[in-house]
């Protein structure tokens, strides 16, 4: 700095502008001596009020929903029959439709249909199988609005997310895997053309958090490799998968290649234990996953599992903090926190902790919680009453354990429906249950750390290993962390990104096998 400029600046500092409400600089503060703590800084608060309030912006397109739905077996929709479950719109508690519960007979029929279809489907030239998958991808894109609306009605996720994330990824998965059908022998080193064989009939059980996306992640690679499928959607969210079956019909997918049986846990048990299946794939809780692992081990059939998580999201003081805060938001409040890879444990390097928490607080004030069909809603409805009760139970546990609850969003929640304001806990200790157990809701546990090795140690101290986040501007530190984190997906300076070409799946008790990319194919071929 040249001397003139320095002088000028000093002069400017000297006659501090009256317009400024800045607190006086420390240098001219009265000297209180070393015994005194510095006075707490003046807090300046931004006001997020209603100076300009958004009007309701509901998605108004009507989507037909039948009074009842049966299963989709051997290319036919069956009648619902007497034994049904209600599927409810969690945002309004209205019953959307009645959906059949598959019993032994239905599961038998579905497995038989898949078995019958299996030989021909596997024998079809890869390039021909591919065309069916390409067609499916295209029709999904064309019917995307309908699918998005249905997904939001049935599951409670914001229409913004089903429209911009779920459904586009569904189409992407079919399109991506279509291209693999005739190239499988390139995917496995050492194997020649014709040496890559499908398992046969795959039983697949999927969860309610990404209903159609999980269906696509399971069905697309299975079909690409020449398998046939019997798949069971979650009992709270069967509608979009049944709608996808309409697309299968439209594109002329051969009968029995994909069969859908609806129902809850008992149907899942029937399907997973059916002697006619050659492979089991499941996404859901670790508890159920372990039971299925045991079943598969007894049968000696292969299994892939994509299970729970309690993923660490680690922020270093040298990170770009605003983007890191954005990563916290998309890490834990995306899809109401109903995300197996949610960044539910936040670790902040101590020097940055105050800033990160302050900015998180500010950021959460503009989160919009409420009607999932409103295009401006960021956090929609909790998927079911049961799940809401579980989340509320954990929030209570957190408070009882002595952690401090903060919920800066504090929206007026709709009177009906299952809603939960996004929140976070500070003062969380590693031993707290909210820091160890998967809550599957918009609840974040914030902890701090001092050194990279401490962060690694605490991040890895969990039976889970699905995902992890690292935020730093230092490349060497980032790679060291990424290597040492025991997790199947490590997001560096980003979080919750998904792609059909990118393998997804966990270490340890978060499951085994990968979905997506070339690595996802391995789950659906023999050997």
């Amino acid at each position: 700095m040249n001397i003139d400029a320095e002088l000028e600046l000093k002069m400017r500092e000297g006659d501090a502008p009256s317009a400024s409400e800045a607190p006086e600089p420390d240098s001219i503060a009265p000297d209180l001596g070393p015994a005194h703590e510095p006075a707490p800084p003046v807090v300046h608060e931004l006001r997020f009020g209603n100076a300009w309030e958004y009007s309701p912006a509901p998605e108004t397109t009507k989507v037909e929903i039948a009074k009842s739905y049966g299963h989709f077996i051997n290319g036919r929709f069956s009648e619902a029959g007497a034994d049904t479950l209600d599927t409810v719109n969690p945002a309004t508690e209205e019953v959307l439709s009645k959906v059949a519960i598959a019993g032994k007979k239905d599961v038998n029929a579905a497995v038989r249909a898949a078995r019958t279809a299996s030989e021909k489907w596997a024998a079809l030239p890869g390039a021909e199988r591919a065309k069916y998958l390409f067609r499916i991808a295209r029709r999904i894109q064309e019917r995307s609005r309908e699918l998005a609306i249905l997904e939001t009605l049935d599951g409670g996720k914001p229409i913004k997310e089903s429209r911009d994330i779920d459904i586009p990824l569904v189409a992407h998965h079919f399109f991506y895997h279509a291209g693999w059908c005739d190239k499988l022998h390139y995917a496995f080193p050492g194997r020649g053309r014709g040496q890559v064989k499908p398992h046969g009939v795959c039983a697949q059980i999927i969860p309610w958090n990404f209903p159609l996306m999980m269906a696509a992640w399971k069905i697309a690679p299975a079909l690409a490799c020449g398998n046939t499928v019997v798949i069971k959607p979650a009992e709270t969210t069967p509608l979009t998968l049944l709608r996808l079956c309409e697309i299968f019909e439209e594109v002329g997918l051969p009968k029995g290649v994909v069969n859908v049986v609806c129902g809850a846990g008992e149907t899942g048990a029937l399907l997973s234990q059916h002697p006619g299946i050659d492979k089991l794939a499941f996404t859901g809780s670790t508890d159920v996953g372990k039971i299925l692992a045991k079943i598969a081990s007894e049968r000696g059939i292969p299994i892939t599992l994509e299970l729970g998580g309690k993923s660490p999201n680690i922020i270093f003081a040298d990170a770009s903090i605003d983007q890191a805060v954005e990563g916290i938001i998309s890490g834990i409040y995306f899809n109401q926190g109903h995300v197996c890879c949610a960044g539910s444990r936040l670790f902040v390097e101590e020097p940055a902790a105050d800033e990160v928490i302050e900015k998180l607080r500010i950021r959460m004030q503009s989160l919009r919680v409420g009607n999932p069909m409103d295009k401006n809603t960021d956090v929609g409805a909790i998927n079911s009453k049961m799940q809401l009760e579980k989340i509320e139970h954990y929030i209570k546990i957190g408070q009882d354990e002595g952690a401090q609850l903060e919920s800066p969003t504090s929206a007026d929640l709709p009177g009906k429906g299952y809603f939960c304001n996004p929140c976070f806990f500070t003062g969380v200790q590693p031993g707290h249950r909210i820091a160890r157990e998967e809550i599957f809701g918009p609840v974040l546990a914030v902890q701090t750390f001092r050194t990279p090795s401490e962060a690694i140690e605490r991040a890895n101290a969990t039976p889970y290993g699905l995902s992890a986040g690292v935020w730093t501007n230092k490349g060497s530190k980032m790679f060291d962390m990424a290597r040492k984190l025991r997790a199947g997906v490590v997001w560096c300076n980003t979080f919750n990104r998904f792609d059909a070409a990118s393998p997804f799946g966990g270490y340890k008790e978060s499951g085994f096998g990968r979905e997506g990319g070339v690595h996802g194919l391995r789950a659906y071929v023999k050997g």
């Binding site: 992407h172 496995f188 080193p189 050492g190 670790t286 996953g289 372990k290 039971i291 692992a293 045991k294 598969a296 081990s297 007894e298 000696g300 299994i303 599992l305 299970l307 039976p463 290993g465 980032m478 990424a482 290597r483 025991r486 997790a487 199947g488 997906v489 490590v490 997001w491 560096c492 300076n493 980003t494 990104r497 792609d499 059909a500 070409a501 990118s502 393998p503 997804f504 799946g505 270490y507 340890k508 008790e509 978060s510 499951g511 085994f512 990968r514 990319g517 070339v518 690595h519 391995r522 050997g527």
Partner: protein, 318 residues
Amino acid sequence: MTNRLSVTKTHKLLIGGAFVRSESGRSIETTDASGMPAHLCQASRKDLRNAVEAARGAFGGWSGRTAYNRAQILYRLAEMMEGRADELRAATIEKAPATRAPAKRTAKKSSKKKTSKKTIARRTPAPKVHEFDEVELAIDRLVAFAGWADKYEQVIGGKNPVAGPFYNFTSPEPTGVTMVVAPDTPPLLGLVSLIAPALCCGCTVVALASEASPIPACLLGELCETSDVPAGVLNILTGFRAELVHHISVHRDIDAVLAANLDEESGAMLRSGAGENLKRVTVKKLTPRQWRDPDECETPALIERVVEMKTIWHPMAT
């Protein structure tokens, strides 16, 4: 010929780089290659626990070494095997003795005794001479996997073309502590074929030796200790499968299991371990011909059984 009394040997367990007796104090009587009486330690549940602990402790260091370094250490082990090939051959082929597994109950009860003389199978006929040289094949197999150590990542990993401004790649990482349960036969080739994929990628190993012919495994352990294999990276137990498979199955700190040619019951027990902590269990069935086949036993598909695919995302922008 002098009328010298020979020194008989007790083969000890290899745990954490030390040759130790079973904490249970039990041993099994057997004969060595020359027909002389010898003793083996009979590993207990607690020996297994200690070995897993040693393997866990060694995991960070071994997996953190460069692949090139791991490759050289495995190659060094192959060199050592070559140097003692005759001894290994004698142990595996000529007069390989067999021990006999006691019934499960007996094993449990006897474990309480300070010393127990296990049923000896000294007069059991030696296994049929293989129509191949197991030692040569085992050495070559180890060399093959020494070569894989710094190549498999490129073969089974890669960059993913995601639809966005991200640099995204997937590469394998060792899954952790791998339990190897060696087949009865071929005792050395079987053991090496299972430990080599795990060691080359950075897993640490606890191996349960062939029950029928455990001595080659003990010799391999001795070679390890003279060939730069760090302590705890390979731990070798001798004993009875019937006694140990249950404990392997429910051990939550074992990440993966590689086994071959087990009886139905042991295989099922190991596989059920997936239900405990989702350990990655592979139980193979291989014919003598397949054991010799590089396409079967030297493929990176075996390494894939003991690695985790890790996908890393990073934004690309200025």
